[in-house]
Amino acid sequence: MIEMKNVHKVYDNGVTALSGISTKIEAGEFVYVVGQSGAGKSSFIKLMYHEEVPTDGKVNINHIDIGKMKKRQVPYLRRNIGVIYQDFKLLPKLTAYENVAFALEVIEENPRKIRRRVMDVLDKVGLKHKARFIPAQLSGGEQQRVAIARAIVNNPKIVIADEPTGNLDPDTSWEIMRIFEEVNDTGTTLIMATHSREIVNSIRKRVIAMENGQIVRDEHRGEYGYED
């Protein structure tokens, strides 16, 4: 599903974020990406949805080299990938329903289908009853659930989460993880960058640990593995 071969990433300002990354993530896997700030986690996952392109090396998604992808093909790649951030990135003036529907409207989905799909995913994340609330009226956990609903509303094959529980208290974090496991159970590949030792050590999954732009550890059912 996702394959990286000797990927290097050097930013325009000369900072080397990744040096020689090679890895393979199969369809349906659940992968934690751990490492200290600046280790290259964000650059690593940004390569997967073409937010960044590799300076050198290959990134293949479904056997397509996305480094060579044409600009106008990028939107179609992203329709197959849901992205979730630490700060939710919801539009403040839109309701929960509208925020989720927005993702389908802008890819010109059929309005009738939008209505059905949006209510379905809001139900899945347990927020059907708060569909008419705007983000300011929702708690952090609820906002993140809206963001998750938006990420999965188009049935993507891959969901990428960049420190999704970073702004949330522990109880809420477990709720989010439960939803992620459900999403992963339906066959969606889930990649999650995180700083949470508790989560990684209790919900055991594959762990890719990064340091100085390189993968230093990659184990199934791994541990968080280092002191913060």
Partner: protein, 297 residues
């Protein structure tokens, strides 16, 4: 494009114009000012052009034939004139015709000349027209060489100077209009850019969930179009009323044969349509340009 998409773009574009009403006023103002200036230049340029065309069309050589030339030789001269390459048409005007024209041109005073009908002192004349106004001088010189020709006359220097002036005026005018349009596009683009920071989150999310760039540009296109169209209302009003006023008041006072303003109808309407087009163009271009920075991958 789907109808639902189109209506979404229109809704979003109009909403943004209303939400950022002061920026809209600024952008519309830029279009209005530009178009008023462009209209003034266009009126000047197109009328100069028209005058030049009239002069070119009127430009002719009058070749006076020696008094004692017989009819056969006169015909021969006609054939020689016809054989000159640059000549587009020529016409024989007998001395009787010439006298009639003279009498007619002079109006009341002309009656005095009616006496000459008994003993006409005028020459027969060949009136020659050339393809291009620039050919007048060389053709006139060539005709003057014929032994049967007493002299030639053509509006030499005046015509040339007018045409020259018109050419310069055209270049200067086009230059000014181009500069004006670029300035307006720049102004509109910068004005809309000020409103865009508020929308950059929205654009970011659109890109993230896989909206096409053309889709993201949609509302900006509508916004630019509306800005341009609204901005052209005042200039069009000015053109339609102002040119009417100008035409009525000025045209009667200009009683030179060759200086005639373009008639209000259809010129003012054509110009209005042109202004609407230019307004829409600079509005759309400026607006779409402002979003470009956000669409780079």
């Amino acid at each position: 494009m789907k109808i639902s998409t189109l209506s979404r773009h229109m809704r979003e574009g109009a909403k943004n114009l209303i939400r950022n009403s002061w920026m809209t006023v600024a952008a519309v103002g830029a279009v209005t000012t530009t178009l008023v200036l462009v209209a003034a230049f266009l009126i000047l340029m197109l009328n100069l052009n028209q005058i030049a065309e009239n002069i070119e069309a009127d430009a002719e050589i009058r070749a006076f034939i020696q008094l004692n030339t017989n009819d056969e030789d006169i015909d021969a001269v006609g054939q020689k004139i016809e054989s000159i390459n640059q000549v587009s048409s020529y016409e024989f005007s007998s001395k009787e015709d010439e006298l009639d024209n003279l009498i007619e041109d002079l109006g009341d005073e002309g009656e005095a000349y009616e006496l000459f009908e008994q003993d006409n002192p005028l020459n027969h004349v060949y009136i020659v027209q050339t393809e291009e106004a620039e050919d007048l001088a060389p053709v006139a010189a060539e005709i003057e060489q014929f032994s049967e020709i007493e002299s030639v006359e053509y509006g030499s220097e005046t015509v040339e100077r007018l045409l020259q002036f018109n050419e310069y005026a055209r270049y200067v005018g086009i230059g000014f209009i181009a500069a004006l349009l670029l300035t307006a596009i720049f102004l509109i683009s910068n004005t809309i850019k000020m409103t865009i920071t508020a929308r950059s989150d929205e654009i970011g999310i659109m890109r993230l969930v896989g909206a096409k760039n053309s889709f993201i540009r949609g509302p900006f296109f509508v916004e630019g179009l509306l800005t341009g169209v609204i901005g052209s209302i005042i200039p069009i009003t000015i053109v339609l009323t102002g040119y009417h006023f100008l035409y009525v008041n000025l045209n009667d006072r200009l009683n030179f044969q060759f200086i005639e303003l373009l008639p209000w109808n259809p010129f003012a309407w054509q110009l209005s349509l042109m202004l609407l087009g230019i307004g829409a163009f600079i509005g759309i271009w400026g607006s779409v340009m402002s979003v470009r920075k956000f669409l780079r991958v």
